[in-house]
């Protein structure tokens, strides 16, 4: 049986759920909106046993052979945010228990929380990516305006973005930003050499690799500022060595599913920008028709 944990209207969760139904796979859905009422027991000794009591019935966790997890931050769900503190604590405890079970269960987990954690620090993840043979953009993290000026001078065009997994819009540094350089002392900030070229998104799901090219003139194609910057997405075949590097990166991070952001420069050089361990793959799937959800369902169903 496959357990899916998330919010049903979340497109990736809905797509994986539908793909599992198409396969005729038995499935249990843990709706994150049920965290205020669910109960759970977890026993660990030489063995692992557990029980999850949901509004739809009781679930024996020993029967679970595959898990797809994509929960939102529970405290931000309206039902939880508006609940009394004791209920909020209970919701947090259930989250924690499910995360704990996701780490210790022998089931195939897409993906285990510890394996996903590298995404919380982009420079930490960059070092892991580089160790697998990919080039990564030169990066400076600093609280020092002189160091930033020197880095900018060295690379000509640079961008800034968050260091952590908190989503930020990649923004080019322009002369008008100089008036804010003194603010650097308040918090270390990440700058990167701007890599010109075409964005390539690769989804690795088990043994399957799906690549697509994104054509957009925006600095960050996820946030087009005007209609002309709206991305065009099409399926491509990766060169074999790049395909191989993508598989190696994902395997080295103990992930079963990942969305990898690459950039190919005009002179054919490939950089890896980031690995997303909980990709919103449906955006690319709907644009290309790539059967990513079916592949994930296959990974989850494998014995």
């Amino acid at each position: 049986m496959i357990l899916v944990w998330g919010v049903q209207r979340d497109p990736p969760v809905a797509a994986v759920t539908a793909a599992l139904v198409r396969r005729g796979q038995t499935m249990a859905f843990v709706d994150q909106l049920d965290v205020l009422t669910a109960e759970m027991d977890l026993y660990v000794d030489g063995d692992l046993r557990g029980r999850l009591q949901l509004p739809t019935g009781e679930l024996d966790l020993a029967r679970i052979t595959g898990v797809y997890i994509r929960p939102y931050e529970t405290s931000r769900l309206p039902a939880v945010a508006e609940a009394p503190p004791a209920r909020q604590a209970r919701a947090a405890a259930l989250d924690e228990a499910l995360l704990c079970w996701s780490e210790v269960t022998p089931a195939r987990v897409v993906n285990r929380p510890a394996a996903m954690a590298s995404n919380h620090s982009k420079p930490y993840q960059s070092a892991l990516i580089q160790a697998q043979g990919f080039d990564v953009p030169e990066t400076l993290i600093t609280t020092d305006r002189d160091a930033l000026e020197a880095f900018w001078e060295e690379h000509g065009e640079i961008v800034y973005k968050s260091i952590s997994g908190i989503r930020s819009i990649v923004t080019r540094v322009t002369p008008s930003h100089r008036q804010r350089f003194n603010d650097l002392a308040n918090c270390p900030t990440q700058f990167q050499r701007w890599i010109p070229g075409r964005d390539i998104r690769v989804h690795v799901s088990g043994d399957d690799v799906f690549a697509c090219e994104i054509k957009s003139s925006a600095t960050d194609y996820r946030y087009p500022r005007e209609e002309e910057e709206a991305p065009e997405i099409r399926t491509i075949e990766l060169p074999l060595d790049i395909d191989d590097r993508c598989r190696r990166v994902v395997a080295s991070m103990s992930l079963l599913l990942a969305g990898i952001d690459l950039r190919r420069t005009p002179d054919g050089h490939w950089f890896c920008l980031e690995v997303n361990p909980s990709p919103g793959f449906t955006y690319y799937e709907s644009a290309t028709g790539q059967p990513i959800a079916d592949s994930i369902a296959c990974v989850l169903s494998a014995r």
Partner: protein
């Protein structure tokens, strides 16, 4: 120089730095991370600059790092506007993780993606690791009530520092503790067993470090090249 990564309000960290001497040890606090002077590059450049104890320090001067915190909490960033504390804490943790991981000197305990010091395992993960090493152990967690770890009150503690053990002198428990530390990938670990010496009770990658012999072993470990 030995760097102790801790809160400036952590009395234990201040005591350790006082013990080791302020010329050879200093606390790296969240406040230090928000001061001018930090320079860190990826791909890794050995010529980085850190700010430790309010002073700019070239990376080459750092001989070892003792990390006494799992993360920086938003609540401790009192100099940051309340609305920005969660974001700034996430940024500081992400930076500190990358910086600690990149250090060529010894870091005790080395960070993982989940924690600035060690694997940050839950009781169930320690229990599973112990059971896999044939050390009898069990935990039970029930929601909505609390986590239930069998605790007989009195326990026997073994503290591992590298290959050395302190605390309970039972050679069997010491051997089990070293195996558990190795399985967890940590150099510094406190392991507690039941008083009848038959069962693992709990483990922590943040021992109290009140025993002078343990503290001296940690200092020697930090001054030993990796």
């Amino acid at each position: 120089m030995i760097v102790v990564v801790a809160s400036i309000h952590d009395a234990r960290a201040l005591r350790i730095v006082a013990e080791w001497g302020s010329k050879s040890a200093a606390v790296l606090s969240a406040e230090d991370l928000c001061m001018p002077g930090w320079v860190f590059r990826v791909p890794i450049d050995p010529h980085t600059t850190a700010v430790i104890g309010g002073q700019k320090i070239p990376g080459e001067r750092i001989s070892g790092i003792l990390t006494l915190r799992p993360c920086i909490f938003p609540e401790e960033l009192q100099d940051t506007q309340a609305a920005h504390r969660t974001y700034v804490a996430a940024e500081l943790n992400a930076f500190l993780l990358a910086w600690l991981t990149a250090q060529s000197s010894r870091v005790v305990n080395r960070p993982t993606a989940c924690c600035l010091a060690g694997p940050n395992w839950r009781p169930e993960q320690w229990t599973q690791a112990a059971a896999r090493l044939d050390i009898p152990a069990r935990t039970w967690r029930h929601i909505p009530s609390h986590n239930c770890i069998p605790n007989d009150g009195e326990t026997l503690e073994v503290i591992t520092v590298g290959e050395q053990c302190f605390g309970c002198g039972d050679s069997g428990l010491r051997e089990k503790s070293l195996k558990l530390a190795q399985a967890a990938g940590v150099e510094l670990l406190s392991v507690r067993f039941s008083v009848d010496r038959t069962r693992f009770v709990s483990a922590s990658a943040w021992p109290s470090l009140t025993d002078p012999a343990v503290l001296e072993a940690v200092r020697q470990r930090l001054e030993t090249p990796r």
